[in-house]
């Protein structure tokens, strides 16, 4: 019963519950260690050893090389496109539910006009796709009391030239987020492509997407092929069952 109650809480409410929990925990009185710390310092515990200059230089070079290697690895692991982030990692420990374009997951169903008014930006609609068959609107996470971010999702039903994305009735879905805060995080286990000319990323292996909304975080499996790119402050994510070239054409990112 209480688990159900806790599960229904928003992140904010669950956080408040944690806050209320702390004074209820068994805990010793606050420490008073200033005296002991001072005594330990006065006693000169663990004095720093002076290393020979040759050894110091060797250690510094090794540390610098390690730092460069780590930075290079990190750059390959995380790609930040403002509201959308791609993380390359072997596994995600959370349990995915259904496809994100099941509809409900992406917020309330609205018209494109309503979405434009609420989002504060005009969603990009690829000319090739035409008017979307479905539009949803949801607010991004409110962590750290920052203003809400708005996510606009659009979907087009399958049709000739736009094959169905497995597990959905749609042939294409496009998610758009404006701003710097992560609203959508993609967890990709396999290598993916950076399309330098198009300034985009192409993920054609099954992966998971984490949606950070006001109502909490949900994780969904993604089976379609995904193109992610940025246009100014807007991050865009197009999912289709098309090959890379066709997806680039659809997004208007091809160089003719």
């Amino acid at each position: 019963m209480s688990a159900q109650r806790l599960s229904r809480m928003t992140d904010e409410e669950l956080g408040e519950a944690l806050r209320a929990l702390e004074p209820m925990l068994l805990q010793p009185p606050p420490p008073e260690v200033a005296g002991e710390v001072g005594a330990a310092i006065d006693a000169g515990r663990r004095p720093r050893r002076r290393l020979s200059s040759r050894l110091r230089i060797a250690i510094l070079i090794a540390a610098a090389l390690l730092l460069i290697a780590t930075a290079a690895a990190a750059a390959k692991l995380v790609i930040d496109l403002g509201g959308i982030r791609i993380e390359r990692e072997p596994t995600l420990t959370t349990t995915p539910t259904s496809s994100p374009i099941a509809g409900v997951a992406l917020g309330r169903s609205v018209t494109l006009t309503e979405a434009t008014a609420a989002a504060g930006f005009t969603p990009v609609v690829p000319r090739e796709l035409g008017a979307p068959d479905r539009v949803w609107l949801t607010s991004g996470t409110r962590a750290f009391d920052q203003p809400d971010m708005v996510l606009v999702a659009m979907a087009w039903l399958q049709r000739p030239g736009l094959p169905r994305i497995p597990g959905t009735p749609f042939g294409a879905s496009l998610i758009e987020v404006r701003g710097d805060d992560d609203v959508l995080v993609k967890h990709v286990g396999a290598p993916f492509d950076e399309l330098r000319e198009a300034h985009a990323y192409w993920i054609d292996t099954p992966h998971e997407v984490e949606l950070l909304t006001r109502d909490g975080t949900r994780v969904f499996p993604v089976t379609g092929n995904v193109l992610v790119w940025q246009r100014g402050a807007l991050a865009l994510r197009l999912e289709t069952d098309l090959a890379q070239r066709a997806a680039l054409d659809l997004a208007g990112l091809s160089r003719h």
Binding site: E22, P28, P31, V37, G38, E87, A143
Partner: protein, 197 residues
């Protein structure tokens, strides 16, 4: 001399005071460092309790500050002290878990009067139903120390996003996804506890 100035100027902003204390401590002023210990020992203890409940908190906090003293010359001038000491305390608590080779759990204090006089009563207006508290503690105990730490930084210690990034030693952009993931794991643990019950 600096200490006298700090004491006789009560209107000086706390952050400026701290910057002076940190600058003095970097130069080897033990009294200034002692003031920092007094200010932050309770915070360090809260970090240790969430990372490694059951360890000797006094020992962790003392060791953390001794390590901080020896690291002070390398402390970046103008950087905030709070996330730095959180990070050292968390690392020290993790070290103690490793050396103890056991992991203790968070435990709720007894409700009957007199069982734990030293504990602080819940603040007014922040009452969590006992049943919910028990479920939440069981779920928290299912989480790893890193996830508990992220939740504690955000919800209990009220660290800002930038402070969390410093304390966790991760890029600022990663904090939200870490927090979000820890919240998801907590929710999963709550459901798992219910199924098991």
């Amino acid at each position: 001399m600096y200490r006298d100035e700090i004491v006789t100027q009560p209107t000086e902003r706390a952050s400026s005071q701290e910057e002076v204390l940190v600058a003095l401590a970097r130069d080897g002023d033990e009294h200034a460092f002692g003031e920092l210990v007094t200010r932050y020992q309770a915070l360090a203890a809260r970090v240790a309790r969430f990372v490694a409940p059951g360890v000797d908190v006094d020992d962790v906090v003392q060791e953390a500050f001794v390590k901080a003293w020896y690291a002070m010359p390398r402390f970046r001038q103008g950087a905030p002290f709070k996330p730095w000491i959180c990070r050292i305390a968390a690392n020290e608590a993790k070290n103690q878990i490793r050396s103890a080779r056991r992991r203790e759990a968070l435990v709720l204090r007894e409700t009957s009067a007199g069982r734990d006089d030293r504990s602080v009563p819940p603040p007014e207006g922040q009452v969590l139903a006992r049943e919910d508290a028990e479920a939440l503690v069981r779920a928290m105990n299912r989480l790893g120390s890193n996830d508990r730490l992220v939740l504690a930084y955000r919800w209990l210690l009220d660290l800002s996003e930038a402070e969390m990034a410093d304390a966790l030693a991760v890029p600022a952009g990663t904090v939200k996804s870490r927090l979000s993931r820890a919240m998801t794991k907590l929710r999963t643990a709550i459901v798992a506890e219910e199924v098991q019950a």
